[in-house]
């Protein structure tokens, strides 16, 4: 059940470039558990859209099924949303993007939704470089079905049931880098200073932008044995903070270990990277994989913008679609008319 928030707005709330207040980006009140990491992500998305001054109704939200996939109800109430079926959001998003290339697409999924049932679609979504921001609220478990291990659960982590997970966890960020994603990042739901700019950068990116957000499930995965709880995540956090620079600001170019690195996005906006552990450039896949892995081997989770291809070409461009959205075409553009049909008939006589 969703509760609609009171419509009252304080008259002096700060507004963004379009004159919207942050409340214009609110959704319904969350029905997730108090303290769920997913709610922090919803807030970060809302804030990112507000700060980037996106028109709420030009954003479309898509998700699968799970606690995480419910999130889109809880932000951007003025945007259309589609809570589809479990694990198959990538295909729904692909179709939506083809139909209208001019909206901003935010996909929200869970680790069960993406790494188990949705694995095939996820990989093919990456391969097609669909222009969207894809956020996995990664809690290492199936929240909505009451806490089973997901495929991202770490080896040896202990679920509510008490059994230690005997399988290696799938690292979605590495997978995305390997499979050719053009934007790959990781963050932590509790770290909004890092997460918000990453989401803004992802939405500005022209192509598939993946953000793996470690998002603890307070109900089923927040106890000593699990390696994905708030406590342990904070312990293992290897922060790589990212700061978003809006379009038209100065671009900084120097990049050395321990300093920041400016990467120009396709739309001209720039991201400053602060390289914590260094060792790879953010546009080098092998480097990214190695950095992620080496942090992993130290039992640390590398966060930040892990990989970026500034020359990304999205699916609409790859398919050479016209710039006018397909869903705007009318009979005149679509229907070749009776003369053409006559000539086709002619060829078949």
């Amino acid at each position: 059940m969703s509760f609609i928030k009171p419509k009252f707005r304080h008259p002096r709330l700060p507004t963004n470039a379009l004159g919207f207040t942050v409340a214009d980006y609110d959704g319904a009140i969350s029905t997730l558990c108090a303290g769920c990491g997913h709610d922090s992500i919803s807030a970060a998305i809302r804030n990112a859209c507000f700060k980037s001054a996106l028109e709420p109704h030009r954003i479309a939200k898509v998700s699968g099924i799970g606690c995480s996939s419910k999130m889109p109800t809880y932000f951007l109430g003025r945007s259309h949303g589609f809570n589809s079926v479990h694990g198959r959001m990538p295909s729904v998003a692909t179709g939506a993007s083809l139909a209208n290339r001019n909206l901003t697409y935010i996909g929200v999924s869970g680790d069960g939704d993406t790494a188990s049932i949705g694995m095939g679609q996820f990989i093919h979504l990456i391969r097609r470089n669909v222009n969207m921001t894809y956020i996995v609220a990664n809690n290492g478990c199936y929240g909505l079905t009451k806490g089973q291990d997901s495929a991202t659960a770490d080896l040896g982590s202990v679920s509510k049931g008490g059994a230690a997970n005997p399988f290696d966890g799938i690292d979605l960020a590495s997978l995305a880098v390997l499979q050719g994603a053009s934007f790959v990042a990781r963050s932590f739901s509790g770290d909004k200073d890092q997460l918000e700019p990453l989401i803004r950068a992802a939405m500005a990116h022209d192509g598939f932008a993946f953000i793996d957000v470690v998002s603890p499930c307070v109900t089923f995965n927040n106890h000593a044995g699990s390696t994905r709880s708030y406590g342990s995540t904070r312990d293992h956090l290897d922060a790589m903070p990212v700061d978003f620079v809006p379009v038209r600001e100065e671009i900084r170019a120097e990049y050395a270990e321990g300093t920041s690195h400016a990467v120009t996005l396709h739309d001209g906006s720039v991201i400053h990277l602060l390289k914590a552990d260094a060792g790879y450039a953010a546009d080098d896949r092998t480097g990214a994989l190695t950095a992620i892995r080496s942090a992993q081997q130290d039992r640390r989770i590398l966060t930040g913008l892990l990989f970026l291809d500034p020359n990304s070409r999205d699916l609409n461009d790859t398919l050479e679609l016209a710039s006018r959205p397909l869903n705007e075409l009318g009979k005149d553009e679509l229907c070749p008319g009776s003369k053409m049909l006559d000539s086709i008939n002619e060829g078949l006589r």
Binding site: S2, H80, F82, S84, V85, G95, L319, N327, L341
Partner: protein
Amino acid sequence: MKTLLGINDFVVKFANVNGTGSASANSLFAKAIFRMGIPVSPRNIFPSNIQGLPTWYEVRVSSQGYLGRRGGVDIMVCVNPQSMADDIASVEPGGYFIYDSTKPLAPQLQRDDIHFMGIPFTEMCMREFPTPRLQQLLKNVVYVGAMAALIEIDFSVLKGLLNTQFKGKEKLISSNVHALEMGFRYAREHFDCPLPVRLQQGDNIAPHIREFDHILMSGNTATALGAIYGGATVAAWYPITPSTSVVDAFSKYAERMRIDPGTGKKNFAVVQAEDELAAMGMVIGASWNGARAFTATSGPGLSLMSEFLGLAYFAEVPVVLVDVQRSGPSTGMPTRSQQSDVLAAAYASHGDTKQVLLFPATPRECFDMTVDAFDLADRLQTPVIMMSDLDLGMNDWMSPPLEWDDSRQLDRGKVLDADGLEQMENWGRYKDVDGDGICYRTLPGTHPSKGAYFTRGSSKSEMAVYSERGEDYVQNVDRLLRKFETAKQYVPKPKVKNAPGLTKPASDLKLGAMFFGTSASPSYEAVEMLASEGYPIDTLRIRAFPFHRSLDDFIHAHDLIFVIEQNRDGQMRRLISNECEIPPGKLTAVLNYSGTPITARHIAAEIRETLNAAGGNVIPLHPETA
């Protein structure tokens, strides 16, 4: 020996090995007959592999324009030793068996009651053509040449076709013509030409063929054109026989007709998905976002899409799905035809669902119904499934030319634009404002502050708010039933015909037959056969589900109704008795599910048997007395 007589009425079958280039020679043969104005219906019967296995091309010539399979073979042209024994066995007494006599025929294969005609195809080609490739390929053209002599195909028509086919490649034309002539000459020199079964222009051709214009095209091509004209912009699919050529043809036509003239960019998107689930997901996503989108698949794909079909039904997203049926279950016989997905499609998905189905019977109808399917899906905000099959989809059919009314608009149904939203008070996505079960939809991005809602496959209130209240759920699914009821008035109506030769049904005529899709043609033929025997049978051709009310009327007006279809379980019969609340006993199943299309002979025989068994109750009514 029995003598077969058949001016423009016979069946020729070519027994080939697949991958040897016989397809184009065989279609040259059929097309030539078509060009002569003589009704012809060719069918490929091919294996699920790429090279080296038996494949057949069965061509029926029928002065009356019967396009279904007749059954039996009058002339067998056999260039495949693998299947020779079976091929010989399948020739009608008095028929002709033409074979490659380069090697002598094994004596145990001989039959006394058919004519064996050896032509040394291989030997002739080895002699005449330089490369193995040419020897292989042109062997096929040689037998077409021989057939030209035997059944009197107009040689200039053949040459004309070759000229068009190989336009600009003069060398190919001349070698092909040479091959044709080799065969022609050999036949003329060695056999009594023409045979008593043969072609003859004009004369005994049925008026509905002779007097009207026709084209020769496959159902899948027509479906693809329907998608073009219906305004489809997104096609997402996964390859599967026999539906692949739908999207292939769509791409081909779209590349030609849907390029933005200014920029050369595409006004369409074709995506080969990673599987059928993804294909259906893409269609749903695109349709939700306001594009016309479709997918094409066959049985296994339909099964895989069933969860998503339930979503689309319940979330009320338009979907056009072309199911080109093949033999199931499971992989079944992937290159054979059936109509066995009827129940799987009608009730696709768990929970209470009912899907809208269309049943085209001709390429013309594939075209028209595909256009309609997009309008229906938009109007009804639900999946619409085109139930084609391999026989219709992949074979060439004589069909009236496709027609397009330039004044026809795309009917996008109840979609509110920004103005519409401004005008409507208290809009709610699932409010049944008009009482027809169909609500007003909005598209993402339409209006800055109105019309946004959450689409979901879970239960919701009229205002599209998530709800687990029993009343909300019941109200919603009852409305979906109401919508399905509304659909009856929009879907194509059945075609009802009185028993042939009888202008109005006599009061004591109580026999009826119902059928759909590719069962229609042979059913009509069987009904004519039976009429000539004195059994008058009215017919109703089903064209859509939900069933139009006239179907109920037809059933009530008849005492004994045959439901003719191509599956084991009589699936349409079940669907009818379910949905029309008909005592199943009133409906007698006439079935064929061998994978090769049902024949008029089979249908007639089955009906005859039932009528005989019914004994005194059904007294043949001789046409004269009717």
